[in-house]
């Protein structure tokens, strides 16, 4: 009797018989519908979407995560914490070009900002983690970063009655690897920079950004930056080849490292060589270094390089300045972020 009413089967049949022209029609209709919908919400229909707090978070877990984020016990020699390389006060990433781990070990890639990391569709430059939890585990056990082992971390935390009590309050099974990671991840999900001038503009406040910034946005779109840097996070939702229209690494002149190979390191596919997750531009204005190799230390230079290698265009300095001012308008607010 179940056989006859099996919805999966029915659905499957429906999909199978779905004709291609109908699909195109549907796509158009959907687009129009979404435009109408956006207007109704008074959100401007732009490729950039305003940031919102997407996840419902447990405040206890967030607080616990914050503690853990700042807890040096997570490192092997109790010398560094997550916050050590992700300075929340400045920009959520490292001030240094490459981060220094325990015993002075030097990393080979730029530390990305933890702000708005909840909106990253994958984590790490090469996208080897799908969730923040997966990501958080990386630096803790990475020998050149925090260099810890989970048993030692749990042992250290177990010795702290307050910590233990807090864990027990929100997790039935107390201190476990998964719970530590989840708490940190939840804290990171709370690191959303809301109410940036541009978001306010998107929500209808015409005065929120300057004419210059507006012009910058229009240039941003017309040059094609928007093709990759779109969505809520203005980037962070796709992979792109570093130098898709130019040979960046050849022009850089330095030796290609494993970090440079990008997503290839994860998939091993030739097609993924030099592919990186497109970085978010939300806090780009606050960064000291740019690109995975921190090869550039100014935003203007970064815009110029992006124009050459990603768009095949020489963007005039004027326009770069406009675009820079637009990027500035993307910086939102967070209590931990001091400006």
């Amino acid at each position: 009797m179940i056989k006859n009413t099996d919805p999966a089967r029915k659905y499957g049949t429906w999909i199978k018989n779905f004709p291609c022209p109908t699909l195109v029609t549907v796509i158009y209709l959907c687009t129009i519908a979404s435009l109408t919908f956006a207007e109704e919400l008074k959100i401007k229909f732009e490729p950039v979407r305003p940031l919102v707090l997407r996840d419902k978070l447990d405040p206890i877990r967030v607080q616990l995560g914050e503690k853990l984020f700042n807890d040096v016990r997570l490192s092997k020699d109790n010398s560094i914490s997550c916050a050590h390389c992700h300075n929340l006060a400045t920009n959520g990433s490292d001030d240094k070009r490459f981060s220094v781990g325990i015993d002075g070990a030097l990393g080979n890639i730029k530390a990305p900002s933890v702000y708005n990391s909840g909106f990253q569709f994958v984590l790490f430059w090469n996208g080897r983690a799908n969730t923040l939890e997966e990501q958080a585990e990386g630096p803790i056990t990475n020998p050149i970063e925090m260099g810890s082992t989970w048993p030692s971390v749990i042992k250290k935390l177990e010795a702290d009655p307050t910590m233990k009590a807090t864990f027990t309050k929100t997790y039935s099974d107390g201190i476990t690897v998964q719970n530590i990671l989840n708490a940190i991840a939840d804290f990171e999900r709370s690191l959303v920079t809301l109410n940036s001038p541009f978001d306010l503009w998107l929500l209808g406040n015409e005065e929120a950004i300057s004419q210059k910034q507006l012009k910058g946005y229009q240039l941003f779109k017309s040059y094609g930056c928007i093709s990759c840097h779109q969505g809520q996070n203005v980037g962070g939702n796709m992979f792109a080849q570093m130098g898709s229209v130019g040979n960046y690494f050849e022009d850089r002149g330095t030796k290609i490292t494993s970090a440079d190979r990008g997503r290839f390191e994860v998939t091993g596919q030739e097609a993924d060589l030099y592919f990186f997750r497109v970085p978010s531009l939300r806090l780009a204005a606050l960064q000291n270094y740019f690109f995975h190799d921190s090869s550039v230390s100014t935003l203007k230079e970064a815009i110029r390089i992006m124009g050459v290698y990603q768009l095949g265009r020489k963007i005039p300095d004027n326009d770069i300045e406009y675009i820079e001012s637009f990027i500035n308008s993307l910086v939102g607010k967070h209590p931990l972020l001091k400006r």
Binding site: I2, K3, D6, P7, A8, R9, Y11, G12, I15, K16, L23, V24, V26, I27, Y28, C30, T31, E46, P47, V48, R49, F121, N130, S222, G224, I226, S227, C228, Q230, G231, Q232, N237, M238, F239, A240, Q241, S244, V245, T267, A271, F275, Q310, L311, G312, R313
Partner: protein, 951 residues
Amino acid sequence: MKVRHNLIKPFSLVLTILIAFGLYTETLKVGIEEHTQISDIFLQLKELEANLDLEVMQVTSFLMVQYDPLIETRRKILQLESQLITNDDNPFQNTNAKVKRALKVYLISLSQKLNVMEHIKSHAAVTQNGLQYLPTAVKNLENTEGTARSDFAGLISRLSLYTLFPSKSELDGLHSKLNNLKHTIDSNQRPHEQISNILFHAQNLLKHLSKLVGLKNLYLSVPSKKRFIELSREYDEYFAKVTERVANFNLLLLIITILCLLALYRVLYRLGIAHKKANNLWNRLHDAVESISDAFALYDHEGHLILRNRRWLTFYPWLKDHVKPGTHVDMVDAKNSKYLTTEYLDPDESGGKTQVSKRKNYLQQLEDGRWFMANDDQTSDGGTVCVRKDVTESKIAEIELKKLLRAVEASSSIVLITDVAGNIEYINPKFTEITGYSKDEAVGKNPRILNSGLTEKEIYCNLWKTIISGKEWKGEFHNRKKDGSFYWGRASISGVKNEKGVITHYIAIQDDVTHQYKLSEQLTYQASHDTLTGLVNRREFENRVERLLVSKNRGLEKHALCYLDLDQFKVVNDTCGHIAGDQLLLQLSNLLKDIVRHRDTLARLGGDEFGVLMEHCSLEDAERVTSSLLKAVQTFHFTWEGQPFIVGVSIGLVAIDENTIDLTQLMKDADAACYMAKDTGRNRVHVYHIEDSDLAKRHGEMQWVSRIHQALEEDRFCLHAQSIVPLNDQTYRHYELLIRLKDEKGKLIFPNAFLPAAERYGLIIKIDKWVIEKAFNLMSLNPDFLERVKFVSINLSGPSIVDSDVIELIFKKLKETGISGEKFCFEITETAAISNLSRANNFVAKLREVGCKFALDDFGSGLSSFGYLKTLSVNYLKIDGMFVKDIVEDPIDHAIVKSINEIGQVMDMKTIAEFVENDQILAELEKIGVNYAQGYQIDKPRPLDDIINEV
């Protein structure tokens, strides 16, 4: 075999439960919830994949301005995938390998799609920029050659067309066109910068566009739909199989359930029948138990009550609250032991715990006196059946009977029961003890075995006559013991009647009175004989004379009587002591015994006086006898401690003939004759003449008559008193009043001197009256003494008892003085009392009514039988001092005193011993148990005035 059979049922039950449980868990394996989850997942997968397809198509058509929706879809797919990969919360966990493999294959295809999608995104972005920039770049190409511009415009339109309708030929066309253009431009020496830029972008665009087209085709070629269908089919197959199996299991379960229900019904049906049967049985059992007359209770092996009848409650009323089924057995016995005393009939039972008997028989006595015969029986399953029978009546009867039997057995009298024919059926131990015949020897025999032949036949005749008529017979037998010796038995025989009043048995109760008989004989002998010489005493002598005087042949026969008075006796007595005197008397009497004729009576009349009664003897013959007597005494030489004494005798002879008046006169005459013999020179025989009496009167007793008269007139009598004290309690005393006479010179004369004369000449009543009056007066004048003394004893002579003046005087004085009768006790001699028993009894009874007490004086001396004692109700028995004074030395005297005391005690009289002269006597009396003592050891007689005046 039985054990195995018993195991089958539980084993099959367990097996059934296991099978049912197994089937049930099998049905649980595919729950509807799981199926719903899987269906839901299928829906989600389909929806997500459709979304993905839709969004990828948007991207390839450059319609997606931002990729956030796409990454949202991706995120959902990944989330779902991770759920399906993990083991927890994965509904596919329980499906079969085929389904899992199909799922895995499908998920791989999804991953492929996602992977391709990422590349599409990247290339689409670049392509989009190219498509957007190129037309602008060509538009800006105004200043260059028109051909080039139109060529580029054509290229752009072809590129746009290719974007919408990609094909291999068009791609090739575009490549060749681009190459042509490049070639044309390269041929120009001066290549335009803008043209090179356009060409560069066009090449890039074409490169990415072709990649994009390839990726799009790759994406579409991923066989995810096919695989989904495959998965769906596999799952359907799996589910159909599971459903079918579950259906089979359900069917099996249904069958098992029906079987179980059928079995249950059968069991219940059987149970119902069994219950009914059990109920019937129980009711029958209950009725049976109720119907029995005994109390009944059944306890299980743990001691809990299962069954009991109503009677059980009446037997153990305190159990009222504890007789519900399940109450513990302890409630009956152990806990209420205070109500019970248990008597084990079987001696083994009381032994102890080691005894493993299944049956217990015992008697229980309740506090209220009921007796139960208890019977506790072990049942085969270890329970206890308790049966109680009320045996109170028979038990009480038994106890009564036992008591009676024990009493009879312990009786100090012989008890003998015979049948009507007189054959012995029962004897008690006393019988054996006295007669020597054992039970075996006696039972079945006639009591004649005891017959000594000495009992008169008349007695037996009388006996049978009496008892056959149903009356009680009382009498004495002279019986013979087994060893041939005799005993006196005082018996009481009566018939025992059955309920119809017919005599079935005779019961004889017999006491051995031999001892009493012997005592009585002894006393009789004592009363008639002189203890020292063994001769007849005065009393007996007078009796014999009296008998002679009243005999029929009086006047026809001639007899004689003589008085002998020893002349020198006083000399022996005074110089050598009374032992010597006694010895003299003894020897002399033996001498005289030989001389008198065989038939004559020789008597010691007192002191040194002897008398001889010669029956059928003429005066002449008598004179001859007296002469030989005289001669014998004269020739008798008495030696004491080497000193010889010559003894003389004066003999007065009187003939007993028709002139003899009476005893008194006769004795008076003999006395007078004896006096005359003495008076005429001693050592001679004087035959009485009529003148002799006058002569004697002046000198003998007769002189006392006038002296007593004179003394009464001159009030020269006075009272002395001697105290009588209890032996066990010396706190009080009473006094015997004794009379004394002061002669003309003031010398005290003892009553033994004048009282015989007073008695003989009838003055004794006057003296008694004087004593009574004097005593009353003294008592009333001295209230202190009256208070102090318990009572005083006054001796009364025989004539006074029967004299009405005396009793009148006593009552008069009682009235006058107002003194209570209790303060007086009257001592009378047994002889005096017996001589006129009825009047004496009257006298005693009248005075006892007013509280006066009586004492029997000189008891033992003049007694012929104890029997008279019964008729005289006196308070005190005064044992004759004659027995008392020698009690220490003489065993016979000791025995007499003891017997008298015993008799006195038995008759509820207090005994008083006279002549207590030393400590040894006192000690002996105490040992015997005599109540009071009187004598020199205690107190000498003193003037009553002295006693009254002492404080």
